[in-house]
Symmetry: C2
Subunit: 403 residues, 2 copies
């Protein structure tokens, strides 16, 4: 969808003549009351559910929507009942206008000149998309992690346009540790000599070193300590096959969301104990191999400026800040009913942070359901198949969300 | 101390004509029964206690020993009673032979050719130092974190030479998450274009970008989430003064151990809420400023190859591996009495890991004292002043460690 009108941004800057990529699933009903908006997290896209077919009608490799476990016919968010909209945010590198595209004011690639966008800006842009689709009120807005922040922001910026908000594995703001991890990732990117102040496109290079490091840090923080020990522990890689690991298997279409829990590892055999190579630079442990592989893959398809923009949007989000830090006061504007879900081993967006939102909503006598799922997978759990988690969302949509 | 004899290493390689830097405190008694060996962690040195004076007899800035809270006259490890030896490990950049020095076989700087050294190798080298000092049996061997691993290894490699082992904030091996953080740090260093495969000395450059990232990651993991929120939270930096932050204050002698909890911040005023700059590359939050400052400082004095070597020594340490993972079996060789200390908020070397060692020692009917200190500072707590922690160590040395 192309938008001609200027969109004013929170920073004071603005953007004009932009596109938003979106995908829909199911059918909008006659009174347009069954729309569910899905907001994406760090490195996902509008491709929320289903699969893409290639020219010959075959399912493309790794083309599955990033929340396909959650959304589809007969699934927890049932597209036989709901009209689901996946939208790619401004600043992304997966279709909507972002740093890799042409700035209409200069006719050059935006690069580092792409304006800084916030969660609130994304919500404003999403609201314009709904306007264009003729949808006034959402049956629900839903997202995990950074997507959950957008769902929460929807209830504050457009309280009369949201009946339900489903906020999964999210937080009312980032804490210092989260900002710290974002900052290290950003520094890895911006100090990569191939970054060129964000104008690397002009030089025909990509700051892949930085992106690799950023992604490796991300992966560590998305997984729980327990699941990492269970999956990798101190398993070594088989010495004779290590060299092959640096050559990645050919990839099909890019995979807009790297799902560490869901993805298969490069097929390097593991051994529980073998002679070490005693090297500081070769791979010894399976966890190293996994991280290198994920970092390499990510650096092939993700845009560095987008990474900076999206981590900054995470850092800035803090609805309580305008209320002297009082979250209850900040959330008093919300009129929606809420479902919050958190995961016991998520240390990036811990249950404690979800409970802060629950408490602030209850302080305002809002209708809130809250589920804390005992799951081993850390922050990543919100993307994975877990019967209790999916069951909670299914029940909520079945019993509470009318159309 | 210079050593002419070849030291065989665990890897199968060896090193010859090496030096070990060491410092001693107190007086060795007549029967040489009061020696306490202190083993250092990642980026510390033999300068364990006291201060250095400059030519005019003034105390040098930041020249305080890294465990000066613990060791000295009247302190928990009382140098009026004990002869304390601080030794710098092989591979370090603070005096003992390491990658920055000349390889006698080639007459060139070692660089990446410095052999990979392990915890066990360090212990062997330390034992030779004790031989040279005429000390057969240690009253105690003591260390925190990686230093604790060395203390534990002493009890296994030289069970008859250690009467007590004090193992603080340590673990019987690294778990997958710890290896993962080490690997990201190493990749940041080795993919820095100024690394040149570890032979950067020849090119007159230093891989400072990589070292900065490595150090930033380290700092995040040394602190607890709680203390980071308490110290930094979402505090912003004052917009007008940000530029000054990139200019570091002049440093005196290098500070061999960066102590995040103990160091003062660069004096940038903080504000609780101010207009954001809406920038992906400028500093907005105090935690970003702190990490950049620590990273910059570290990159000025620490050797990149040493960082690789020391993190690898951490990765490799795993005394149970030769016993099919059975730690109780592995520790059956130890004859020393033990004090173990852990800290409640240490998520890098959690209390659970210390308890594994305690259990394995108890399985062998060893004499073990264990203290789990409720401290807010994360892994860093082992370097900080904490009355309960210091009290436990004081009591142990006073009541149990005879001379």
């Amino acid at each position: 969808m192309h938008f001609k009108d200027v969109l004013p941004l929170q920073s004071g800057a603005s953007i004009r003549a932009y596109d938003l990529s979106y995908e829909t699933y199911g059918v909008l009903n006659a009174d347009k009351s069954n729309a569910v908006l899905i907001c994406h997290a760090l490195n996902a896209s509008h491709h929320v559910a289903g699969v893409y077919l290639d020219e010959s009608g075959q399912v493309k490799a790794k083309s599955e929507g990033w929340w396909d476990t959650m959304i589809g016919p007969g699934k927890p968010v049932d597209t036989n009942r709901f009209f689901v909209i996946g939208v790619n945010n401004l600043g992304s590198c997966f279709g909507s206008t972002g740093p890799m595209q042409i700035n209409p004011d200069t006719q050059e690639v935006y690069g580092a000149d792409f304006p800084v966008v916030t969660v609130e800006d994304w919500v404003d842009a999403q609201a314009r998309l709904l306007d264009a689709l003729g949808i006034h009120t959402l049956a629900a807005v839903m997202g995990g992690s950074l997507g959950g922040m957008q769902a929460l922001a929807w209830t504050l910026q457009h309280p009369d346009r949201v009946r339900h908000a489903v906020v999964v594995a999210s937080a009312p703001n980032l804490n210092a540790e989260n900002i710290a991890f974002n900052e290290v990732a950003r520094r890895a990117i911006t100090t990569d000599p191939d970054f060129h102040g964000g104008h690397f496109y002009r030089y025909g290079v990509l700051p892949k070193r930085g992106l690799r490091i950023a992604r490796m840090i991300g992966h560590i923080t998305y997984l729980s300590d327990d699941v990492m020990n269970e999956k990798f522990g101190r398993l070594q890689v088989a010495p004779t096959l290590v060299a092959s690991r640096t050559t990645l298997p050919p990839e099909g279409a890019h995979f807009p969301l790297g799902r560490p829990g869901g993805e298969t590892l490069a097929p390097t055999p593991t051994v529980t104990s073998s002679p070490f190579k005693y090297s500081t630079q070769d791979v010894e442990f399976q966890i190293e191999s996994y991280l290198r592989y994920q970092g390499d893959k990510f650096s092939e398809y993700f845009d560095a400026n987008t990474y900076l923009l999206i981590t900054r949007a995470l850092d800035y989000f803090d609805p309580a800040s305008a209320y002297g830090g009082n979250l209850s006061l900040a959330l008093s504007k919300a009129k929606a009913k809420f479902l919050l879900v958190s995961f016991s081993t998520d240390w990036r967006f811990s249950p404690k942070r979800s409970r802060e939102i629950v408490k602030a909503l209850l302080d305002n006598q809002r209708d809130v359901s809250y589920a804390e799922i005992d799951a081993p997978h850390g922050h990543d759990a919100f993307l994975l198949e877990d019967a209790r988690y999916l069951g909670v969302v299914r029940s909520y949509f079945n019993s509470k969300v009318g159309v």
